[in-house]
């Protein structure tokens, strides 16, 4: 704005104020002379502008891409294919028979109880481990095969079958009466049906061959059996021909037919040794032949895998898995190594529903006549042994012991017997209550004496002097005749394999060296099927050799319990040579050591 213009404006403003406001004011002259000066701006406005250009890219040349791979790499898969089990079996279930027992209950296949095979720890190949792990529970397996069973097995019996089935080497060491026979037969049956085995050899003591035949008929009626018997020509034909999948033979044939049994073409899939304590002495001929039988699987059945010492178990393992155990091992180490091979259960552990076994120790004073005879015999015998000095042998001591034990039973001069008096009183009670009783002794002569003296009870006899044919009749009569309530039985013939669960009373008239044998005898009566308690009366003459032996043996139970930890063993083990000499405070002569009993 020029100065002249500004003056005009100021002047106008003043005029406006004068018109509105009557108060007179003085004013200066606002006229200012304006003269432009040369700044050069006008010339710049006339000059052409200069323009600078800066490019800006609106589109990126290349998009940024983040790639994520969603397709997964191919998976690593472990695959196992198993043999055609269903195509292979050599055995087929029998068609239903009239009056046949029902097959394993089908609804069990859907029950919550599922018994699966116990895979052995020494199964190394994954393929083999998976094969056993993937087998169905026994309940549904047996139901699926429609296998006939006389009654539903107990849970522990199925566990036993699940233990045996996958094992190449096993000891089933259940206490007597728990059904080792049934468990072995059912495991064999399943293996045959599965086609995993085709040739089985079962070895047992001669008196038990018939028992095995009966049990197979009961538990596996569809399996044909071949009982090896007759002259050598006939046996040779039986050994060589595979007409039946299961052969049953007694131990004595191991000696007679060892050349046939140990030949390479004899190879069997499974050898089962019943009462396998028969091979505990590994250098015995029986043990050596058994070890040489060509085979794939080896099972041993025994209630007493350790009967006298840990050496017994080593002997059985020489058959099962040679070299796995040695005599130098400590019991605890032996127990650890044997653990996966041995299954042992006692009645207390698994049969809470089994009626109790009641022990009564009849500790008796000898009659005066017996005491006098006993004193004379002992004094004379000890004197004789003392005079013999180093010449005294274990046999001399054993003779004295047997003599004294017989006097504990009966006075040789008068026939007096404190034990018999007590037994008569007890048997009166048994007869009146219409129960059955078994009386055990180690001597046939004692049993015969008892038979005469107990005539009013019409006792039956079962011992080594009774023929095999007669024995079956005796057992039938004892079971079914209400007037025959007493059975006189020797430990040797009656301690294994018999089912006498209808007897409620057992009397041990004299004591065996080894209470494991006594247990076997007692368990003839106290076993599955027993309906009431079994009362066991153990006679023991006080202040005699019987009491001294009992004290020593009682202390030896711990060894069994250490090796087979967690399971109570037989009450004790055998006596060694020093212990036997020590019974009469005699020093053991310096001769090679032998196990005595």
């Amino acid at each position: 704005m020029s100065d002249s213009l500004r003056s005009d404006a100021v002047q106008k403003a003043w005029s406006w104020h004068a018109a509105d406001d009557p108060i007179a004011t003085t004013s200066d002259d606002p006229v200012v002379r304006v003269e432009p000066f040369s700044s050069g701006l006008s010339a710049a406005l006339r000059r052409a502008p200069r323009i600078k250009v800066r490019p800006i890219r609106l589109v990126e040349e290349r998009s940024r891409v983040v790639s994520m791979m969603l397709a997964s790499p191919s998976l690593r898969v472990t695959s196992v294919r198993f043999a055609a089990a269903a195509d292979a079996p050599v055995i087929r279930p029998l068609p239903s028979r009239d009056g046949a027992k029902p097959s394993f209950p089908a609804d069990r296949s859907c029950s919550r109880r599922r018994t699966r095979l116990r895979v052995p720890r020494d199964t190394v190949k994954l393929e083999d481990r998976l094969f056993y792990m993937l087998q169905p529970p026994l309940e549904s397996w047996m139901a699926g095969l429609a296998l006939e069973v006389p009654f539903e097995p107990f849970a522990y019996q199925l566990e036993g079958i699940a233990f045996l089935y996958p094992r190449l080497a096993a000891i089933l060491a259940d206490e007597m009466g728990l059904g080792k026979t049934m468990q072995a037969i059912t495991a064999i049956r399943l293996l045959l049906h599965a086609g995993e085995i085709r040739r089985v050899l079962l070895l047992c003591p001669k008196p038990l061959v018939g028992n095995w035949r009966r049990e197979f008929g009961l538990w596996a009626p569809e399996i044909p059996l071949d009982i090896i018997e007759g002259n050598r020509a006939r046996r040779g034909w039986q050994w060589r021909h595979d007409t039946m999948p299961v052969k049953i033979a007694n131990y004595e044939l191991l000696h007679r037919d060892d050349d046939l049994l140990t030949s390479a073409e004899m190879h069997v899939d499974l050898v089962v040794l019943d009462e396998s304590q028969r091979i505990k002495n590994r250098s015995s001929r029986t043990a050596r032949v058994a070890q040489k039988i060509p085979r794939t699987r080896s099972w041993a059945l025994t209630g007493t895998p350790v009967e006298n010492s840990a050496e017994d178990l080593v002997g059985i393992f020489e058959f099962l898995a040679p070299g796995h155990l040695s005599s130098q091992m400590k019991p605890r180490q032996m127990g650890r190594l044997a653990g996966d091979y041995v299954l042992r259960r006692t009645k207390d552990q698994v049969l809470s529903q089994l009626p109790p076994k009641l022990y009564r120790d009849a500790d008796l004073e000898l009659s005066p006549e017996q005491r006098e005879s006993y004193r004379l015999a002992e004094d004379e015998g000890v004197l004789r042994l003392t005079h013999m000095g180093e010449a005294a042998t274990i046999h001399h001591v054993l003779e004295l012991i047997l003599r004294l034990k017989q006097i504990c039973n009966f006075d040789p001069a008068t026939g007096h017997s404190a034990k018999l008096d007590r037994l008569c009183a007890d048997l009166e009670e048994v007869a009146q209550s219409r129960q059955k009783a078994i009386v055990f002794s180690q001597w046939v002569e004692t049993l015969k004496t008892l038979s005469r003296r107990l005539a009013r009870f019409a006792p039956l006899e079962y011992h080594g002097k009774v023929s095999h044919r007669e024995r079956s009749r005796v057992l039938r009569e004892f079971e079914h005749d209400p007037n025959r309530s007493v059975l006189l039985m020797s430990y040797g013939t009656g301690s294994v394999g018999l089912n006498l669960q209808f007897a409620s009373y057992v009397f041990l008239f004299d004591r065996w060296w080894n209470p494991a044998v006594e247990d076997q005898a007692i368990n003839r009566a106290h076993r599955i099927g027993v309906t009431g308690p079994v009362t066991v009366t153990r006679f023991l003459s006080l202040a005699t050799i019987e009491e001294r032996i009992d004290q020593i043996l009682t202390e030896k139970r711990e060894l069994f319990e250490t090796i087979l930890s967690g399971t109570p063993g037989p009450r004790n083990l055998g006596l060694n040579r020093d212990e036997i000499f020590g019974l009469f405070q005699l020093r053991t002569p310096q001769t090679p050591n032998h196990r005595a009993a």
Binding site: S72, L75, S79, F82, A84, R114, F131
Partner: protein, 201 residues
């Protein structure tokens, strides 16, 4: 031991997937004959989805992993086709899209449960706060199942494939009344663990 392969005709397939907190998913496929004895077993090495898969597959991840990736892979390894396939994990039903035989879900709960579920929940459901709902949710929701009983077994089948049911019942025949179809899954789980132990040492 001779473990040569045999035909799987007349066999039943059992597929399961187990989840391990550290290693991921393990799949197992067991083929049994009608007596319940094993013919084949296949199991996978562990499967662990990537983060990208977790994000992009969203709720369809499990059906993809269980059914397509694990299930299909295992079934392809087998020698032949089973009569039908059982699974005890719902997402594995997805495998039905890839096979020509019926696939059923076995309710492995005790038989005395009065009524089972009417639909199947995703067994690997995340906490609610972590669930992202998609607009096309139909893809991620578990399929509706039709439940029915055969013998002691309570079985579910994808409703839209229920036409398979007749075929399934026909194939299972009399066997169904005797078989406990939930039991073999125990065997598979044990075998998977054993195989992994074998693999690692």
């Amino acid at each position: 031991m001779d473990h040569s392969a045999e035909s799987t005709s007349g066999s039943i397939g059992f597929l399961t997937v187990i989840r391990h907190a550290r290693h991921g998913l393990f799949g197992g496929y067991l083929v049994l004959n009608r007596a319940g004895r094993p013919l084949e077993f296949h199991c996978t090495a562990p499967v662990k989805p990537s983060r990208a898969q977790e994000i992009l597959y969203g709720p369809t991840l499990e059906p993809y992993l269980y059914g397509e990736q694990i299930g299909s892979t295992l079934i392809r390894q087998a020698n032949g086709e089973p009569l039908f396939l059982c699974t005890d994990v719902a997402p594995a039903l997805e495998v039905a899209k890839h096979v020509d035989f019926p696939v059923v879900l076995v309710d492995t709960r005790t038989n005395d449960t009065p009524e089972g579920p009417t639909s199947v929940s995703n067994d690997a459901a995340e906490p609610d706060s972590a669930v992202i709902r998609r607009l096309d949710e139909a893809h991620g929701s578990p399929p509706a199942l039709a439940w029915f009983r055969i013998g002691p077994n309570r079985l579910g089948m994808i409703a839209r494939r229920e036409t398979d049911r007749g075929s399934f019942e026909e194939r299972l025949g009399k066997v169904a009344a005797q078989l406990d179809l939930s039991e073999p899954f125990e065997r598979i789980r044990e075998a998977i663990e054993e195989a992994q132990r074998g693999r690692h040492g």
